[in-house]
């Protein structure tokens, strides 16, 4: 509870600062809402192309972390990174010491080969700094999966790093694809695919094979793996109309969790403790969020404000982000499920028509789509950052966590 109050307090201050600061929204990283510690990189000597790539990646990910800003040339920073990042011909060798308040420090030494690994090494250093200095979970080594809607019955799956780099197309199916979700192993992505001409749920290991999770008669969608990896939430209609089910690998059972003959369910998302699922149902005649207690199979309605409330995503720290329709388009809202949507706050500074929020592993940032591109939002008030600069219909982002 205390944590939530603190967050709200900081968020309010952050918003006020953001308005005063008037940060630039698009293109480059401008993060000036929440308070940050200055990091001086002037003592980091880099050499060659890979050294530069290491430095560029380090800077961008330090800024995107939301906890740091890069100190200008000559200016001192409360945090210093001293040492070297040397091009080894095809890779980089980094040796540095990170020092901060009160003489605390840690050393860092890594060698890596290949462009992706050079970037990865810098991202790992950023996450280490976030963990050691701020005692928070970093986001630099996490990844985002998303969909490019390319035409009628044609969408493809993509993955990129949390800094928007390293974008890869994962599927080449030339059919519709809906609702990708990372499995907690951060290697597999579940999604609804029309490769067979009708919807089935597939589990796709990035860079590897894919398997069918659900192929019942009727609708198969909504695949979401539980935090412990032993269960999958699914939306299936084999009994007559779409309902929420849990496939439990441990007991080899498929268990129906809802009974709404006149409604449909969608978008299940597990709570961090795996005991609850938040999902969309239209039993009230418009899509709203409901909360399921998995053990008792009892659901209760969570949202009452807004003509539609969809796309729920549960953070590791316990807050639910969702898209709420109030007036014309959707906005991104965040709520404490224990308090319901009377406590929800709308994230300001997000683009118009933002939808499909997904939490970063730090439970602070969110990625969302405005229907054409993806943005990173900050619940502590930093301005939105555009993630993808390539033309397309980039939708349905899901952040690994």
């Amino acid at each position: 509870m205390v944590v939530v109050f603190v967050l709200i307090g900081v968020f309010c201050c952050g918003s006020a600062q953001a308005q005063g600061g008037g940060g630039e929204l698009l293109g480059r990283v401008v993060k000036e809402g929440a308070k940050k510690d200055a990091v001086s990189l002037s003592g980091l000597n880099v050499s060659g192309q890979n050294g530069q790539l290491f430095l560029t990646t380090l800077k961008r990910n330090l800024e995107l972390s939301g906890w740091f800003q890069i100190a200008g040339a000559g200016a001192g920073g409360g945090i210093t990174v001293n040492g070297s990042a040397a091009d080894t011909g095809g890779g980089v060798q980094s040796n540095c010491r990170v020092t901060w308040g009160g003489g605390q420090s840690f050393t860092w030494a890594r060698a890596s080969q290949g462009t992706a690994e050079v970037r990865r090494q810098a991202q790992e250093l950023v996450d280490e700094m976030v963990r050691r200095i701020r005692n928070e979970t970093g986001i630099a080594t996490s990844r985002i999966t998303f969909v490019n809607r390319m035409g009628s019955n044609h969408a493809e799956l993509y993955v990129c790093d949390a800094d928007g780099q390293g974008m890869m197309q994962i599927t080449q199916d030339k059919v519709a694809l809906v609702g990708p979700r990372w499995a907690p192993n951060k290697k597999d992505i579940l999604y609804t695919s029309f490769t067979k001409g009708y919807p089935t749920v597939l589990r796709h290991t990035v860079g590897g094979a894919r398997k069918t999770v659900a192929n019942f008669k009727g609708l198969n969608t909504g695949g979401a793996v539980s935090p412990d990896g032993t269960r999958v939430a699914l939306i299936l209609s084999f009994e007559g109309n779409p309902e929420l089910y849990v496939l439990d690998y441990a007991t080899a059972r498929v268990i129906r969790m809802t009974n709404t003959p006149h409604g449909v369910e969608a978008s299940p998302c597990w709570s961090p403790d795996g005991r609850s699922i938040v999902y969309v149902s239209d039993t009230s005649r418009s899509p709203q969020l409901y909360l399921l207690d998995v053990a008792s199979r009892q659901s209760k309605r969570l949202t009452y404000t807004g003509s539609e409330n969809v796309n729920p995503d549960w953070s590791a720290k316990g807050e639910i982000a969702y898209a709420t329709r109030r007036g014309g388009g959707y906005q991104i809202a965040v709520m404490d499920p224990a308090k319901g949507d009377a406590s929800a706050r709308i994230l300001t500074g997000a683009p118009d028509r933002s939808e499909h929020p997904s939490w970063a592993p730090d439970s602070r940032h969110l990625v969302c789509s405005d229907g054409s591109t993806l943005y990173i939002l900050d619940t502590l008030g930093d301005p939105a950052v555009r993630l993808i600069n390539v033309a397309g219909s980039w939708i349905s982002p899901d952040w690994s966590k």
Partner: protein, 185 residues
């Protein structure tokens, strides 16, 4: 395996085999637990590559007309249109469904897949479920008109396969639809 679950699975099996799955579900569903009748369950690969949840509950998987039958493309039917966020059948759409029913009744080798669609607005994940309910609403009416339920399957494309590109109600109303795809056994 626990007998209780075996019984439950059999009740569901009976519903499906008798073609009453929709009827059963509307009134009284089983308690909704199904045993996966495979031996060792490997979480990483529980049912074998590409096999899905074969066997549970029997009758609920496999047997898709798309996989088993030939598509009949020289006979087409007018789509059924829906209001926004609704799967209710409008009175003016009923005659089109009656025409499909008459065709199925006089062509016993033909079976039907009803394809549910939504307009582009709103959550596409929710639209996928809404499209399924639209297809099921048409299916229920065909069953009411006397077509055997085992002859009608559904698939939803949600808002992923619009008939007409663009925005505005003139476009959206043509995309909120149920389409009929005939297959021949």
């Amino acid at each position: 395996m626990d007998m209780r679950f075996a019984v439950v699975a059999n009740v569901a099996l009976a519903c499906v085999l008798l073609g009453l799955s929709t009827g059963c579900s509307k009134n009284k569903k089983s308690d909704g637990e199904y045993v996966i009748p495979t031996g060792a369950v490997d979480i990483e690969n529980p049912f074998g590559d590409g096999m899905g949840l074969d066997g549970i509950p029997v009758g609920a998987i496999g047997g898709r007309f798309e996989d088993m039958c030939d598509r009949v493309t020289d006979i087409t039917f007018a789509p059924i249109y829906f209001a926004f966020d609704s799967y209710a059948l409008a009175p003016q759409e009923i005659a089109k469904i009656e025409q499909v029913a008459r065709h199925l009744q006089s062509n016993s080798r033909h079976v039907l897949v009803i394809e549910g669609h939504c307009d582009i607005r709103g959550s596409n994940e929710y639209n996928l479920a809404l499209g399924e309910n639209r297809a099921l609403a048409v299916r229920t009416h065909l069953v009411h008109l006397g077509v055997g339920p085992e002859r009608i399957q559904t698939r939803s494309f949600g808002s992923e396969k619009p008939a007409v590109a663009g925005t505005g109600e003139a476009v959206w109303r043509l995309n909120r639809r149920g389409e009929f795809a005939l297959y021949q056994k």
